[in-house]
């Protein structure tokens, strides 16, 4: 990007740096944009401010200790990260968890999906300019979800809940009552959010038709998750390649049509509704029994490799584990959805206005902890 390139009418473009310290709370990132007046010519995201070397650190820790590393990847959706890692580890060691553990995992992951989408939508509307009012309302619901998590495993953000062969804690007494209260209340709240947000002319005029992404382009750019489904592509790992007990649960996958900002917003709201359905079915069908199989303290998987993936709230999260028979992994590769979804940021923003950059970035629902790992 060269600032002194002349445009067709003789004016120069402006290089604007939406810097690392950003009032918009998506995390620490930097966007170098080249602007012609208000129109965007080029956008270059620069990341790496949150790179902690999780893959390298994992090579020095035992398999159970790595679970704590995975919490901190997408710090807003810790349960999904844990589940992805444990899925890979269970493929590697061929240990399978009991039924009750599978149900508990699905309940926790779907609760996490609701919490993550609430944050994503809330911060998106915040970036649009509604001064954190919808965000605060959504935080209220997220607080209830985090209280449920604290009831189960004692933590609110870094759970480390999943273990090889099951989960770490069973449900306490009173959890079922709390979660049913929450689910009943939450369905009303989703209706309230829809009424407030989806009819507002200002939100409509800033989101409908802005930054469309076609299905073929999304597939070619390896976009996954709600962004891909908003472009009309029917690909959800929970349906196409079911893991845990998703093949026994009845739910729908919402699809968008054009892949513009509006579709990405509405798909996330609809997914929250489907998550409520899944949680209700799981709580209804929760079997009794053990919640964890016995494994060694230091797990030594046989030599080999495995790739385990889940449908995280942000996309397809996968862990690639290579084992050489010792207590620590030889290589842990992380397929992080936010990082790969960023491929498409440039073509979403070019041609639109400066004010749309942040909104487009918000609809992609990027978490910088997951980008930088």
């Amino acid at each position: 990007m060269n600032e002194s390139e002349k445009n067709s009418d003789g004016t120069e473009s402006v290089l604007l740096n939406l810097g690392p310290q950003h009032p918009s709370t998506h995390g620490v990132f930097r966007l170098r944009t080249l602007l012609d007046g208000e129109e965007v010519i080029d956008v270059e995201p620069i990341f790496g401010y949150l790179h902690r070397g999780s893959s390298k650190l994992a090579e020095e820790r035992s398999y159970t200790q790595v679970i704590t590393l995975t919490d901190r990847l997408d710090y807003l959706a810790g349960m999904s990260n844990n589940l992805a890692y444990i899925t890979a580890l269970e493929k590697l060691t061929e240990i399978s968890p009991p039924e009750r553990a599978r149900y508990l995992r699905v309940i926790m992951v779907e609760l996490m999906r609701i919490a993550s989408h609430l944050m994503g939508i809330g911060f998106l509307i915040n970036d649009l300019g509604a001064w954190i009012t919808p965000l605060m309302h959504m935080f209220r619901e997220r607080e209830k979800i985090l209280d449920l998590f604290e009831m189960v495993c004692g933590a609110r953000i870094t759970f480390s809940y999943m273990r090889l062969g099951g989960v770490s804690h069973d449900l306490p007494i009173g959890f079922e009552k709390s979660i049913n209260e929450f689910l009943d209340d939450f369905e009303n709240k989703i209706k309230e959010y829809e009424n407030l947000l989806l009819g507002n002319e200002i939100i409509l005029s800033r989101m409908v038709g802005v930054a469309p992404l076609t299905g073929e382009r999304a597939i070619n750019c390896s976009v996954t998750g709600p962004n891909l489904r908003a472009s009309g592509v029917d690909w959800d790992l929970r349906k196409k390649d079911p893991y845990e007990i998703y093949d026994q649960i009845d739910f729908e996958v919402p699809l968008g049509e054009k892949g513009d900002n509006w579709d990405r917003l509405v798909v996330r709201i609809e997914e929250m509704k489907q998550s409520v359905r899944i949680i209700r079915q799981c709580m209804y069908g929760l079997p009794q029994g053990p919640y964890r199989t016995d494994t060694d303290f230091f797990v030594r998987p046989p030599e080999g490799e495995a790739y385990g993936m889940v449908e995280a709230p942000k996309g397809e999260l996968g862990f690639y584990l290579v084992s050489d028979g010792t207590i620590a992994p030889y290589r842990m590769g992380i397929r992080s959805p936010s990082f790969i979804n960023l491929t498409v940021l440039r073509e979403l923003c070019v041609g639109w206005k400066l004010a749309d950059i942040i909104v487009n970035f918000g609809t992609l629902d990027i978490n910088v902890g997951e980008v930088d790992r």
């Binding site: 402006v14 604007l16 939406l18 950003h22 009032p23 918009s24 208000e38 509307i125 915040n126 970036d127 649009l128 300019g129 509604a130 001064w131 954190i132 009012t133 965000l135 605060m136 309302h137 209220r140 209706k191 829809e194 009424n195 407030l196 989806l198 009819g199 507002n200 002319e201 200002i202 939100i203 409509l204 005029s205 800033r206 409908v208 038709g209 968008g256 049509e257 054009k258 579709d263 509405v266 206005k353 400066l354 004010a355 749309d356 950059i357 942040i358």
Partner: protein, 416 residues
């Protein structure tokens, strides 16, 4: 070495030239005010009492400004399901003063490459017109500092000087963010003056005079009922003039940090920040005087006027707490494509209605209209309001997105 010294002198000469040109303007305004006040209608505020009244007024305004920062934060917080500032003083009332003291004691940074003189002058250029606006507003009903016959015209003219200050602030900061904010700000301020002035013209037509005291006196029926369309247009135009949500893209946190006042800190920032709330208070008082009915003289009238002002201020704070921002090209599109035609239709219909009423009741032009003529004009205007803003959109479908969204199979529940 000589070249650098010459360049330095050149910038200094430019700054001095600016000062020399601006000083007569300030002196002129000060000189003109004196004889008007002395020969003006109200003797109570002449002589030494003039200065006492002025002192009390300016103090009152500045205290109100600091209190408004607290009130806004508290109100918006309650809408967001939080509490808001409640620690400083009983129920947090002194929060505004704490903020003010903090800002004044902060380091006053001037960016290295900024134009120091214009950078320092710009907050004054922003604050001064807004303070000058209060010269004609009867905050204590019956008493104005200067009972000008061109009251409302003076208010609009003086506050449009604010855009000069905004641009000076953005340009002198020598920062791309500030420049973007300044350019957007000036475009927005200039565009929204047109519907504002057109709508105020209809009020002036109804009242028969530009004097604010006489406008309140002519309100047999509160003008909000006689001119609902003008009220809505003035409300949104003033929101755009004040750079408030939903038109506050210039101060958009998430994009260009803070717009034209990015580089300001300390007292200069306190001046700019306070001006926004001072102007909000001022325009709210003006809207209350123009639209919301008569003013009784004395302290009772003062309290009633403050209550009416609070209603309008509450509307502004409510807008801020609830709505997202409109993009800058959409802001200008709204001004020119929606508000300007509506204001023109309004003034044509109102002018026609006044002529009709004057011929019906055999009134001379220039006299204030009585109750019955006003009622007839009110009915005409309310019908116009309902047709333009409520019925037409329903016929054409609520908003332009309904067709597209229905094609996508999505129902929109709830209104705007």
């Amino acid at each position: 070495m000589w070249a650098k010294w010459i360049a330095k002198m050149q910038t200094r000469l430019f700054n001095i030239a600016v000062l020399i040109l601006l000083t007569p303007v300030f002196l002129l305004v000060y000189i003109i005010k004196e004889p008007i006040v002395y020969y003006g209608s109200l003797n109570i505020l002449s002589g030494i009492n003039f200065f006492i009244g002025l002192f009390i007024l300016v103090n009152f305004l500045l205290v109100v400004t600091t209190m408004l920062t607290f009130v806004e934060r508290r109100l918006v917080a309650r809408m967001q399901n939080r509490i808001g500032p409640n620690r400083v003083g009983p129920f947090g009332i002194l929060q505004g003063f704490a903020d003010l003291i903090k800002l004044i004691t902060k380091e006053d940074l001037v960016p290295t490459l900024a134009n120091r003189t214009v950078f320092s002058l710009a907050p004054i250029l922003i604050m001064a017109p807004v303070l000058l606006m209060f010269a004609v507003i009867p905050i204590l009903p019956g008493f104005t500092i200067a009972d000008l016959d061109i009251g409302i015209f003076y208010v609009v003219a003086i506050t449009s000087l604010g855009s000069l200050g905004v641009f000076a602030a953005g340009w002198a900061s020598n920062s791309k963010y500030s420049l973007y904010g300044a350019v957007r700000g000036v475009a927005q301020l200039v565009s929204y003056e047109v519907p504002l002035v057109l709508s105020i013209c209809t009020i002036v037509l109804l009242a028969g005079s530009l004097n604010l005291n006489q406008i309140t006196g002519a309100q047999e029926i509160p003008f909000i009922l006689v001119q609902p369309l003008a009220f809505v247009i003035v409300l949104f135009s003033v929101a755009a003039e004040l750079n408030r949500t939903p038109f506050d893209l210039n101060e958009a946190d998430s994009e260009i940090v803070a717009g034209f006042h990015t580089e300001y800190s300390g007292t200069k920032f306190a001046l700019i920040y306070g001006t926004e709330y001072l102007a909000a208070f001022g325009w709210s008082v003006v809207i209350a005087i123009l639209f919301l009915g008569r003013l009784e003289p004395g302290v009772g009238g003062f309290l009633i006027l403050m209550a009416k002002t609070s209603i309008i201020l509450f509307l502004f704070f409510w807008f801020r707490g609830t709505w997202p921002r409109v993009r800058i090209d959409q802001i200008l599109a709204i001004a020119w494509k929606i508000m300007f035609p509506l204001a023109t239709i309004n003034i044509i219909v109102t002018g026609g209605a006044i002529l009709l009423v004057q011929s019906l009741f055999n009134l001379k032009s220039g006299t204030p209209l009585g109750l019955q003529p006003l009622a007839i004009i009110a009915i005409i205007n309310i019908v116009l309001f309902v047709v333009l803003l409520l019925v037409l959109p329903l016929i054409k479908g609520l908003g332009r997105f309904d067709d597209e969204l229905k094609a996508r199979g999505l129902e929109i529940k709830g209104g705007n």
